[in-house]
Symmetry: D2
Subunit: 284 residues, 4 copies
């Protein structure tokens, strides 16, 4: 099992940032495994991801903060340090369609996703057997117009009890309340079954069919207050033709949704995503 | 040079249509080269394209109408007969960006597009040399807010003088008047630089950049009265990342625009497109 | 549940074939749902797939042979009639990697694959739990150099006992004997993890990595006597870069393998594939 | 016009390289515009590309060597410094098919390719008019079995007279002699019309058609002594079906060839390519 640290940095762009970080890591005997950076000249922003081997470095989780403070202050940095041995804990929420859930669980079992899955929450019982097969606790939380607040409070309790770091909406067909969204900023990942910003909202495959498009898509994004307007993490498309009925769009779309969501989850888990200006930088 | 006829049919769906057409062609000794059909059960429509060799058939352009009338009436058909030896005449309209124009002209010269190009109309002079290189008459028609009606009348005169069958807007940056559009129904092909229905209207690459999408697209469609709402003929996309600035989107987009427009033009020229319910059927 | 018949025809090309078939179906009051045809001029072959609704037609499985014989003889046809209500029975063979198996089982459960899966055979025990989850009989048949003939005989017994129509090698890592292949002509579907004909044989991802290709692929094909040389049903690719190690190729490849194999299986099950000259025609 | 320097480095991997380079550039007041690096752990190699603004830096082309020598020696670096204001000079060689040539010339004129094109050499006269349209000197060098050495000597003279930096074979259908290849190591870019390593050698579209593949491809690579075995720069594919004849493959392939070659040329011109172990690293 690998033992690395990943540092994610956002700060105003200026000369000397890379030199300062590279020198800091060199002084602490860190072997850099990957480093990537991005400058956004329009917003004068510098964004960086650097990952190093912890095995022979004298900088570690306990003393990093203290050691790095001088540099962080000098360049006015927002930074996060992530350790590969502290696996993030992902809750999955799902309704009746279980193709994304089944896909995530199989990938997790195969070792593709370096996270823990402490629980699955559903407003239906369809996925219970699947959760049991993979030995993941399954919680049935019924949601209706009347009990929405109550239901979300129950969900919050579960997230806390299971120490959840982030939440994946794997075709969860309920709209979250603004309170829910505010509670987990940049920590809720959704899959929308269209290439956003086309076909925002309900029934995108039906509307794609009516419009007569030649491509369908899927989009994974962080959830923000405005429906389907959050920062896009990943998108992909498939080709359709006049022979494809709505059912065919739905079927082809399932493959897109699986793949697009799983990429977004993997990048999130591997700390490859930085956000700014309602956009994502993907360090791949 | 091939000598074929292509029959395009739309009619209410019922049993016996294919049998009637196939029998008709067999009775007239036609060798069917390609046949393809589509049923739209929702609208109870039957659509068909059939192409046959004219060389040893006794049915031809002159007597087809008369011979086929019984069948056409029996099934209440809309039909068109197209002859490969009567090449459609395409006018190209262009503004300053000439990449689609250059691409169409080179493909035409290579034999990819079985049409004639009797003229190019532009509201700028930039493409004049290119038109001359390919020996295509070039007409400069300046368009302004004030002279729009006048300018379009001049364009209509040119289309008539050159006996134009259809018009391709190869990045022509003027909005056509409703009169213009009505005059050439299903005979004006546009290229829009986004995957419609996302980013309808102006500056789609800038808006795609601001939204932070991970894919850009291009869409070729027939022009109708409502801007960017006409039947879609073809779409394609390319992948972008946070490293791509607006200029990169524009550059990558040029390749998409060229390819998407050229496919749409080819299918139109080869009589592979049927329209219904604001959609296209592409018989490829 | 739909109740249709699908007729697949291969015969020498000549005039009147379509007319004869369409007329036959019209005489028997068949409502054609889909019809598609292909002419191969080089080999002077005509290939056709036609599917019709059985509900109000007086031609059915029992009397079709008798009724159609005149036409079949006249045009020297090879033909097969397939009924949607007689679902083909698919055996899946798998070794240790279970991603294709898990994918096929989930698609089957979702209703994407209109076949029955009477059994899974593996030379390992890894997939036993998965088979049980989906309630599919699982048979463990150990294969070694010494017992190969014996093991295949045991497999043949199982195929017969379970009345298997065709066999899918879902990453089954044993080479079948020529006797096995001969026994199930055009009835064994394999997934090879490269874009054939590149990287025929073992360890294609390792060889792709060494060659420094920028794309990896997967190919689904019918198994013939010569390894990886059978008729190709479907292929697809994914983009890789210098950042991808062999492990990344293997991981990305799993998605390709799943999708490419599932398409091939679906087309086979829906009787959309005709073979000639070591090629496939896919009527989609 | 931008005024930047790009440094390309290859050296054995060890700690402190990035720190040394970043510190060096910071000391010389260089504003880093882009930096990207790659570690190949298998070969213990470190590869880096860094581009900075020359406008306010005191390190420049004249004094770089001297200033950088200490670092270069310390880490045993192979390095190249490229200046954006010294545009590389590209010769294009072409035979009869001019689609890649026309594409490169149009892109060059549009400003997509930051190089100069001092000359075009062809063994045919077909492209002469096109060269003249773009005001590029055109040289006709006939090549036959008998005069091959002579012809290549004439080509070498032209490359020297026009001070050519690298050579693009834009569908040049002659095999270069080993002497030619040795003379321009990593400076000859070819486009091969298949996804290598499939269909090495002649007539790849014909062989793809015969094999019945479902995808065709194109590959751009540096030319080495062994035919079609050089380091791959870029590849792409397009989907084909049983409806596509060899002519259709050739036509679809033209679009692939254009795009794949133009990407390779752009990356070469922008100094984004590093070679090692018969592979390319593309810093994009």
């Amino acid at each position: 099992m690998k033992n690395t640290a990943t540092l994610l940095i956002t700060c105003p762009d200026q000369k000397g940032i890379v030199a300062a970080i590279a020198d800091f890591l060199f002084q602490h005997n860190a072997n850099i495994l990957h480093a990537d950076q991005h400058q956004d000249s329009e917003n004068n922003l510098f964004l960086m991801r650097v990952e190093w081997d912890l095995s022979d470095s004298d900088v570690n989780a306990d003393n990093f903060n203290e050691n790095f403070a001088t540099i962080a202050n000098r360049f006015n940095m927002h930074w996060q340090l992530k350790l590969s041995q502290r696996r993030p804990r992902m809750a999955i929420m799902v309704s009746q369609y279980d193709h994304c859930l089944a896909d995530l669980l199989h990938r997790h079992q195969s070792g593709e996703l370096a996270c823990d899955i402490p629980l699955i929450i559903s407003n239906h019982l369809d996925s219970k057997r699947l959760a049991e097969f993979y030995n993941i606790p399954f919680h049935h939380v019924v949601v209706s117009k009347e009990n929405k607040i109550e239901a979300e409070n129950r969900q919050f309790e579960l997230f806390e009890a299971y120490e959840v770091d982030f939440i994946v909406l794997a075709r969860y067909m309920q709209i979250l309340s603004p309170e829910f969204v505010k509670r987990y900023p940049q920590r809720i990942i959704n899959i929308h079954h269209s290439f956003l910003p086309a076909f925002i909202g309900a029934r995108p495959y039906h509307r794609a069919f009516e419009r007569g498009v030649k491509l369908i898509g899927a989009t994974s994004h962080y959830v923000t207050e405005v429906l389907d307007e959050g920062p896009i993490i990943e998108q992909d498309i498939d080709r359709i033709s006049h022979r494809d009925q709505v059912e065919d769009l739905i079927q082809k779309g399932r493959d897109l949704e699986r793949i697009v969501l799983s990429r977004a989850v993997r990048w999130h888990v591997e700390n490859r995503i930085l956000l700014y200006a309602n956009k994502t930088v993907i360090f791949d």
